[in-house]
């Protein structure tokens, strides 16, 4: 019976099957897109950006692309990390430090050739604080008059924001308080200038518009999700002569090994995202000429939940902090030259000298724990450490677990969760201890310390200290930088020595990979910001076959 084939059913079946195969084959061809011409510079930039909108982006990789596309009144000097003139050519600051006058360049143009005017600046800043746009980083404009009130809907009139166009080339900014780091903020991507007409025309998808008028050194040619962003030099930029690469590819990926492989085989010229460096190989890689490590503003620390169980007692928190051998963690697990940390604010932060933190002292720790009612850890309830799943965090957690068991006789349970559960639990303060890290947004201790103000969304410890809030408030009204530093130092001492709300573990090391004989124009700086425009291949590299 097997050989009986009825023609009436097989013909349509065959036809149907062949159509499906045809459709599949066509999609196969569609998938094999024509390769693009190679770029002049290929940079491995980090994970896929969530958005390239400078007002909305929060991630570091997103920010780097946004900073290449859009420019603010000032920009970061690629070598020193200081703010230097950007769209504004020069500025005047009133004696009380609360009013700024920015004179825009007359040759500052959009990438379509239109001039960039004061109105563009005003529009861009209002857009950031406009609550309807829900910009996470709107806080960067709370220093400007009425920024906070508008963003929290206490004032509905956007024009009340302390920024105005005096004439097409003069912007006047009024601040709430004299803010020592305001010029640094002007260079920050949130305050960059964006094109009003495009945004009003395309809405949320405005970055998909082609051509996209940009104010920065580059234009956006292509944005392929999970693949690459292709940038092309903006010929109308006021500093176009100093933009060294014509076409730049920024590759986005998630695997450190893949990044290293691309770099090793010469398919990428630069890796500048720390998360894409294979940490476990740093002891070997550190010796290679293409690895460049430097200090930068980032700290790995642990939050205590000060509202829960034995952790209500500062002596317990202090005992836990004193019994951790941070040099073992910094040396054994982290291998890129991370420094053990006793304070939250990293060394090298401008206008600041951190207080002396807690050192490694297991004897004192045992004493404190006994005083708190747990001699040799007896009767101490088991508690958990919340961290998001990642090799490195797990390794740190295992070390903490063993150290506390050995020194204090208390048992830590590890609780690793996937990212969103971790975030939800951390912000709901649903943990005993929680892994944390912070990267400074600008070069000032405030970017670290204001996190732990009572009403700050990043506090996440249950700790509310009016004393701390008052110290920070007073410090940020100061014009005298020395006095300000002293107040901030007192605040930090409260945070990490007296109350031990957090336990700093180590300061990250910044790392970039590039071959110094082939690539130039990239410098180490403390905020890990590397402008793209001065980066390019040296002549020698061009001759390479």
């Amino acid at each position: 019976m097997h050989s009986v084939v009825s023609a009436s059913t097989t013909a349509p079946v065959r036809q149907f099957l062949s159509r499906i195969w045809l459709a599949l084959l066509l999609s196969l061809l569609a998938g094999c897109a024509r390769p693009d011409p190679p770029a002049d510079l290929v940079v491995i930039n980090g994970t896929e950006p969530e958005t390239l909108d400078p007002a909305l982006c929060t991630g570091q990789p997103d920010g780097r692309v946004a900073a290449a596309l859009f420019e603010g009144l000032t920009r970061v000097h690629p070598k020193t990390g200081e703010s230097v003139p950007g769209i504004a050519e020069r500025w005047e600051i009133s004696p009380d430090g609360k009013t700024y006058l920015f004179y825009l360049r007359t040759n500052a143009l959009w990438s379509n050739g239109e001039p960039i005017t004061a109105d563009d600046v005003v529009y861009s800043w209002r857009r950031v604080v406009d609550p309807a746009n829900a910009a996470d980083y709107a806080g960067q404009l709370y220093y400007v008059k009425n920024g906070l009130a508008i963003n929290t809907r206490k004032i509905t009139d956007l024009t009340q924001l302390g920024v105005s166009a005096v004439n097409p080339h003069l912007v006047r900014v009024e601040l709430e308080n004299p803010t020592a780091f305001f010029l640094d903020l002007c260079a920050f991507r949130t305050l960059c200038v964006v094109h009003r007409k495009t945004i009003e025309k395309y809405g949320d998808r405005w970055l998909m518009a082609r051509p996209l008028p940009t104010s920065g050194c580059f234009t956006l040619e292509q944005w392929k999700v999970n693949d690459r962003v292709r940038l092309r030099k903006n010929p109308y930029h006021w500093d176009a002569a100093n933009i060294r690469s014509e076409v730049v590819d920024l590759i986005h990926l998630e695997s450190a090994t893949t990044a290293l492989n691309l770099f090793e085989t010469g398919q990428a010229d630069i890796i500048w995202d720390k998360t894409l460096i294979p940490m476990e190989l740093m002891d070997v890689l550190k010796e290679r000429p293409y690895v460049h490590t430097f200090k930068y503003l980032a700290t790995y620390f642990m939050r205590f939940n000060v509202t829960r169980g034995p952790f209500k007692d500062p002596r317990v928190r202090k005992a836990l902090a004193l019994s951790i051998n941070k040099s073992r963690i910094a040396g054994h697990i982290m291998k890129a030259g991370e420094e053990p940390a006793a304070t939250l604010v990293p060394p090298g932060t401008a206008n600041y000298q951190a207080p002396e933190g807690l050192s490694y002292n297991p004897n004192l720790a045992r004493k404190l724990l006994a005083e708190a009612g747990f001699p040799e850890g007896k009767g101490f309830p088991s508690f958990h450490y919340l961290f998001n799943t990642a090799k490195q965090h797990e390794q740190v957690a295992v070390e903490l677990q063993q150290m506390w068991k050995k020194e204090l006789g208390i048992s830590l349970e590890l609780r690793n969760t996937e990212w969103k559960v971790y975030l939800a639990d951390q912000s709901a303060v649903n943990f005993d201890l929680s892994r944390s890290a912070w990267v400074g947004d600008y070069n000032d201790p405030n970017t670290f310390l204001d996190m732990f103000m009572s009403n700050n969304g990043n506090n996440r410890t249950g700790w509310k200290s009016p004393e701390y809030d008052a110290l920070l408030d007073r410090a940020n009204r100061m014009t005298d930088l020395k006095e300000r530093a002293e107040l901030l130092r007192q605040a930090e001492r409260l945070l990490v020595v007296d109350d031990v709300v957090i336990m700093p573990l180590f300061f990250y090391a910044g790392i970039t990979f590039y071959r110094p004989d082939e690539i130039s124009g990239i410098w180490a700086n403390i905020i890990d910001e590397h402008a793209l425009y001065p980066v390019g291949k040296t002549k020698k590299a061009d001759l390479r076959p």
């Binding site: 079946v13 958005t51 909108d53 609550p131 929290t152 090994t257 893949t258 085989t265 990212w419 939800a424």
Partner: protein
Amino acid sequence: MWIYLTKRIVGLLPLLLVISFLSFMLVRMAPGSPFDKERAPASPDIERTLREKYHQDEPLWQQYLRYLGVARESDGQGGTRWVRGGLVQGDLGPSFKYRNHGVNDIVAQGLPVSMSLGLLAFLFAMGVGIPLGIYTALRRGQWGDHIGSFFSLLAFCIPGLVVGPLLIMGLALQWRLFPVALWSSPWHMVLPTVTLGLYFSGRIARLMREGMTEAMKEAYVVTARAKGLSESQVVFRHALRLAILPVVSYSGPLLADLLTGSFVVENLFLVPGIGVFLVNSALGRDYNMVVGLALVYAVLLVLLNLAVDLTYGFLDRRVKLS
């Protein structure tokens, strides 16, 4: 026949409705929200605004109707109007994570890539698995079988997590035969295809071996043999048709899995497909993306299973399509 086809295709619509509903509700049950961030926004109002912007403040049923595109909303002047977009118009909504993209944009970019990789891997798996399966079945119990079985087992005992890096280290870094990653020329496709296909070739070889062993015991095959047909005629003209059935019924879901991409392979070789999104959207609680990708997956799966059922009926006359 055509009635059958039409029925199956029409049956797809309620299935899609059920899938969209299930995934819509399921992903919202998981703790955490798309708007939880490592860095809290400057004020709590911002998160609230974000929720309003994406209508996460509405009751769930209304959110779902809005997703389908059959809800009415206030037009701001006291009246109501139909919401714009929605599933009925083929709009999978905005991504909550990738705020400049719609889910449609991401699918349009990633799906063709994932499909071509998946199809290549499928062809590879079939090309290796079927001959190996036949060979081991015919040599059942002999050394050829043991060695062949060993390799087919090896293929699916070693995960892509291991095979991929080994292939890269050997073929891409040591001998520089293939590029290590990226997706732009046929050369770039070889290693991802092998990594993805190898695992499945092992499975297919096992299924094929089993199917062939069974088929060789069938009465009509035995008869064919008794008639004095040659070994290859018996195997390829008579037994194969029945023996391949387990493989055929496995290949529907297999293809759907392959065509929607593989997280590990896409990650390892930097292939810009949608496999990475399928996992990351669920982990990142990017609600619309999860539902959208689940729908894409479901459509593919149903179409492929339909093709499988048709093939089944075509190969085994004893099965009636009804």
